[in-house]
């Protein structure tokens, strides 16, 4: 197994910092499916939001798990700051894969849905969970201690972004018309949720593909911005 990934995993799991977000995730998953039957895509939309919120918590805890000096030593041995943070992103993404698998398979395994689930629905369910998790990870990384001095600002900034992205349609309604296009620059959370709730048939359409590509592209841009910013901080 890759040594940096092993290093991240051992360090993180031994810190037990994963316990609070994971417990909250599990409890809320149980609460969400406490009655049955449930509509498939609506349920997946709701648990995707849950993953989206907790991804921020997982990201901050992974990025802050070691002291700065320990991080520096690892970067010196790896000889690449980019590589070190890429592996951090990879590790958080793996947590995202795990949670997405749990969220998608749990209601299937326990027969929580009102109808028989199809393969496209399972695939879209998994993708929506995973992509929202990655999106949340990528913008939360910009609030972590490498870039934000005060840790209180990390949490405040992240909570603010999470709230704004989820409340985007409400904000859009109260904004003056001239300012409304600005909302299109926000992380594309609401468009995905709206699409999931509308449960179109068929699911795999050009619109779905573009939506997913938009989220992937947006996340990649944020991760590149993170890398660019840490290098800028190093040289400034």
């Amino acid at each position: 197994m890759f040594p940096v990934l092993r290093y991240q995993a051992m360090n993180y799991f031994r810190s037990y910092l994963f316990v609070p977000p994971f417990v909250i995730y599990t409890v809320l998953l149980f609460v969400n499916y406490s009655y049955r039957p449930n509509p498939i895509m609506d349920s997946y939309a709701l648990t995707s939001i849950l993953g989206y919120l907790l991804a921020a918590w997982f990201t901050i805890s992974v990025f802050h798990v070691e002291a700065k000096v320990q991080e520096t030593i690892a970067i010196v041995h790896l000889k690449s700051m980019n590589s070190f943070y890429n592996w951090k992103f990879a590790f958080v993404s793996l947590i995202g894969v795990l949670l997405s698998v749990i969220s998608t398979s749990f209601p299937i395994a326990f027969g929580m849905f009102d109808e028989r689930i199809t393969f496209p629905e399972i695939s879209i369910g998994f993708l929506s969970h995973f992509l929202l998790f990655v999106l949340s990870m990528s913008f939360t990384s910009l609030m972590t201690r490498r870039l934000v001095k005060n840790s209180a600002n990390t949490w405040l900034g992240t909570c603010f972004m999470l709230a704004i992205t989820l409340a985007a349609p409400g904000i859009m309604d109260i904004l003056p018309k001239q300012l409304q296009p600005m909302m299109n620059f926000l992380p594309p959370v609401y468009p995905l949720l709206k699409w999931l709730e509308s449960a179109p048939n068929p699911l795999f359409t050009l619109h779905a593909a573009l939506l997913f590509l938009w989220i992937i592209g947006y996340s990649l841009v944020l991760m590149i911005l993170f890398m660019f910013w840490i290098h800028l901080k190093r040289t400034s």
Binding site: E66, V69, I73, L78, R234
Partner: protein
């Protein structure tokens, strides 16, 4: 070996380093002293490649020169054992596992931590953690070692132990650059000292060094100590019970060792020290 060529560093328009310029030669131990906030640590980070200077450059003899870096204050909560931690760091460098394992075993032995190889570092004392800090820097067999305040916060015994380790590394020919506040370490280890103030080098002192070998030997028979006439080859020696401790020059140390062995002594240790 390394030339620091007019290095300057600014943070938010604040001048941290101002045209710092000096060279580090082969087999030389160099110290940088100065008040807190004088720019010492920033200079070390720039030489180690962890930060980029605002102006100036670091000229290395070889582009792929390996630099070992020991940061100030080794982290407290490392959740790995020395074995796990050093193995992971070595693997990150791309070192092959069998030779890496051997290197780690040797390092643990040298630093007298073999008995603690599988205990998590977070449970170690400050001195032991600092040893791990130096071990990780030596893992890649560096051409040059940088230490940021290696004795900071250590008790006198740990300071003594670490000074011995640095002296040993110096004797093995490893060029060392360190910052410190402890006069004792400067006197024991440094060949040259630069004083830095407000980012500028304001003074340079050179310590001419005499290498002394301290030889400890134990008489292996019950007979009294034989007449060795050590006065001719050593200025300083003492006898306690069966043990004999002699200080001599490097050139004469072999002669002393041969003499001791032929007179039924067992050599316990030979330690270099600089005075």
């Amino acid at each position: 070996m390394i030339h620091i060529d007019h290095i300057s560093k600014h943070y938010d328009h604040q001048k941290i380093l101002d045209h710092v310029c000096f060279s580090i030669n082969r087999e030389e131990t160099l110290a940088i002293v100065g008040h807190n906030g004088s720019g010492k640590s920033t200079l070390l980070k720039i030489i180690a490649g962890l930060e980029k200077p605002t102006a100036g450059r670091i000229v290395k003899k070889h582009a792929e020169m390996k630099i070992g870096y020991v940061p100030e204050q080794f982290p407290n909560n490392i959740r790995f054992s020395p074995n796990e931690y050093l193995t992971l760091l070595g693997e990150m460098e791309g070192q092959p596992l069998p030779s890496l394992k051997k290197k780690i075993t040797d390092l643990l032995h040298t630093f007298q931590l073999s008995d603690y190889a599988d205990i998590r570092i977070q449970h170690f004392s400050k001195g032991m953690k600092q040893k791990i800090g130096i071990m990780q820097a030596l893992l890649s067999k560096p051409d040059f070692l940088i230490l940021d305040e290696p004795l900071s916060g250590l008790d006198p015994q740990s300071q003594e132990e670490l000074a011995d380790i640095l002296n040993k590394l110096k004797y093995e020919g490893l060029p060392i650059l360190f910052t410190c506040h402890e006069r004792k370490l400067l006197e024991r280890v440094a060949d040259r000292v630069y004083r830095i103030n407000q980012g500028k080098i304001i003074a340079e002192s050179v310590f001419p060094r005499v290498l002394t070998m301290e030889i400890k030997a134990v008489l292996s028979t019950d007979l009294p100590h034989p007449e060795l006439h050590l006065e001719t080859i050593s200025k300083s020696f003492r006898i306690r019970d069966r043990e004999l401790v002699i200080k001599t020059t490097e050139e004469q140390s072999n002669q002393v060792i041969v003499k001791l062995i032929t007179n039924s002594y067992k050599i316990r240790s030979v330690n270099p020290s600089y005075s």
